[in-house]
């Protein structure tokens, strides 16, 4: 006898699909089948069941071997490391729930740490741009119900957010979009002919790293001003045609991704894209939205926001919150050698940071809290495996459009395993003792 759990939230990407169905054994210990999720989400649920999973903390030995330790020993090492460090960095938070993030922030406050989330290497530059000129945006349901112009700029949902187009942006039939994809014009801007680009009505194959110029050219075209013959590899006639196509819509949306946030221009690419959106609101209704990667990177930004006032790259070392990417941002802190202890949770910097940054934390005291084996656990002194968020423990998360959704627990974690929040609470209480605070 098995039971089916409905309305399950998929803890992979910022699309945060909440219509997944999971079949579990009736003792609730085994996850058997997954429906409605994309191939990545399905893998995420099923891999949580793998037999070779590490279920107890492990200390890295000098000879490269691992020694199993108890959670209490892991708590002690983590607390001592954080309490002793001059400038500890608590990084990650994007694959854990907001409850755990809150406890983490308390620890950071007590130990006067730097804290940052994975926006550092995905949409950090978007946040800088938003701070410069704002963000006219909307929820994903608005796009489903109204959008007749959909632009994907430097993002490839076919690969990175597999169900995005079917749930929200291209195919769904909404209140004012009863013809579904027929009622929408799809524009893709990408230097490659991506699988997303292949579906588009218009594909602008921009020269890599020239998005800023192309976006500026669009704004010039809106105003009917002079343009050079070719901008970023696109002839001016084409630019004017696309500009008119955007203006002529009733409700438009620009989705953007790593293609613009990580290329030359960085925050200014987003800045200009937001300016394009702002301009278009003089003629019609337009919105813009970052395609957030980790399923709860947005939530981490929100929690940092209401507790410290800044969305990421927060430096608490002076006892109060400070923020300035370039100074307080993880990559710069690491590469500049400003950090003397690294606590990683809900992220894999080992795989996704430039190697010069990874080398820095590979040689200082380090803890990695992660259910998986990763390059980060591979170079950390202590690996603390925990229950899978969104599978073995619930908790609140924020979708890419900032909509909060409470994740569901579908199966029990292996006997005796702690969740992120439970482990962090133990560390927090020990750190309080070590620092002698109430």
């Amino acid at each position: 006898m098995t039971k089916t759990i409905t309305d399950v939230i998929c803890p992979f990407c910022g699309t945060l699909c909440d219509d997944v169905e999971v079949v579990v054994s009736d003792d609730g210990k085994q996850l058997l089948e997954v429906y409605n999720a994309c191939v990545i989400g399905t893998e995420k649920f099923l891999h949580s069941q793998s037999k070779d999973r590490v279920t107890r903390p492990r200390m890295h030995q000098p000879d490269g071997s691992w020694k199993e330790v108890s959670y209490d020993e892991a708590v002690e090492y983590s607390a001592q490391m954080l309490a002793k460090a001059k400038k500890p960095l608590m990084f990650g938070w994007s694959s854990t729930n907001c409850e755990a993030q809150s406890v983490g922030n308390e620890i950071a406050e007590i130990t006067r740490a730097c804290c940052d989330n994975t926006a550092a290497t995905c949409h950090g530059t978007s946040l800088i741009a938003i701070q410069d000129i704002g963000l006219p945006s909307c929820t994903l349901g608005e796009i489903k119900n109204r959008a007749d112009r959909v632009i994907f700029w430097g993002c490839n949902p076919a690969h990175a957010h597999p169900r995005h187009m079917s749930r929200y942006s291209i195919f769904p039939r909404g209140f004012f979009t009863s013809k579904g994809q027929m009622s929408r014009k799809m524009i893709v801007v990408d230097p490659r002919v991506t699988d997303t680009a292949k579906m588009a009505d218009v594909h602008l194959q921009v020269e890599q790293g020239k998005d800023y110029e192309l976006l500026d050219a669009l704004r010039v075209a809106f105003k009917g001003e002079w343009l050079p013959d070719v901008v970023a590899g696109i002839p001016k006639e084409k630019i004017r045609e696309v500009a008119d196509m955007m203006k002529s819509g009733r409700f438009g949306i620009i989705f953007f991704g790593m293609g613009v946030t990580q290329s030359l221009g960085k925050n200014h690419n987003i800045d200009e894209a937001i300016a394009v959106t702002k301009d278009l609101n003089e003629y019609t209704k337009f919105s813009i939205m970052p395609m957030r990667g980790h399923y709860n990177v947005t939530g981490s930004g929100e929690v940092f926001g209401w507790q410290f006032g800044f969305p990421y790259s927060v430096d608490l070392t002076r006892g109060f919150a400070r923020y300035n990417p370039g100074d307080t941002s993880t990559i710069d802190l690491l590469i500049r050698g400003e950090i003397d202890a690294m606590f990683t949770i809900g992220s894999d910097p080992g795989a996704h940071f430039p190697i010069s940054a990874v080398k820095q934390f590979a040689h200082i005291p380090s803890v990695c809290v992660d259910p998986h084996l990763t390059p980060t656990t591979g170079v950390s002194k202590l690996h603390v495996p925990v229950a899978f968020n969104g599978v073995e423990v619930g908790g609140n998360c924020y979708r890419m459009d900032n909509v909060p959704i409470d994740c569901r627990k579908v199966v029990e974690p292996p006997e005796g395993m702690l969740t992120d929040e439970q482990f962090l609470i133990k560390v927090r209480d020990r750190v309080r003792q070590l620092k002698g605070v109430a």
Binding site: G124, I128, P325, H352, H372, G378
Partner: protein, 132 residues
Amino acid sequence: MATINVNLISGRSIQQGVAIEGGKEKPAYRTAAGIIELDPSDFKKLGAWKNTNVRVTSDYGSVVVKAIETTQGPHPGLGFIPMGPWANAIINPDTYSTGMPTFKGVPVKVDVAMNEPILLGIELVQKLCGVK
């Protein structure tokens, strides 16, 4: 066999997405992300068959990956390595004081390295960091 210069970008692919959830210690991760996608025209310039091991070198490092023909082309002169340790061994870490490394738009050199092994993800990072 020649050396070619391409502009490197890194990013998500669905195979890489599946592989990281399937386990980064597994060979499947290397198969998904230990690759560089090149345009057919660049294969000609390189004078190599599809699916040969190549060494990709930038100002910031060097790594061996498998060269495969792009499925999201044509993009002559552009190379794509999925996000992961292989790409990050050679991308430009300069953040221009924005906190964001330059993951996309790194000039790299590609040579055939037929007999050089492609390391597993965790191995690669441990080796580059000098950690056992």
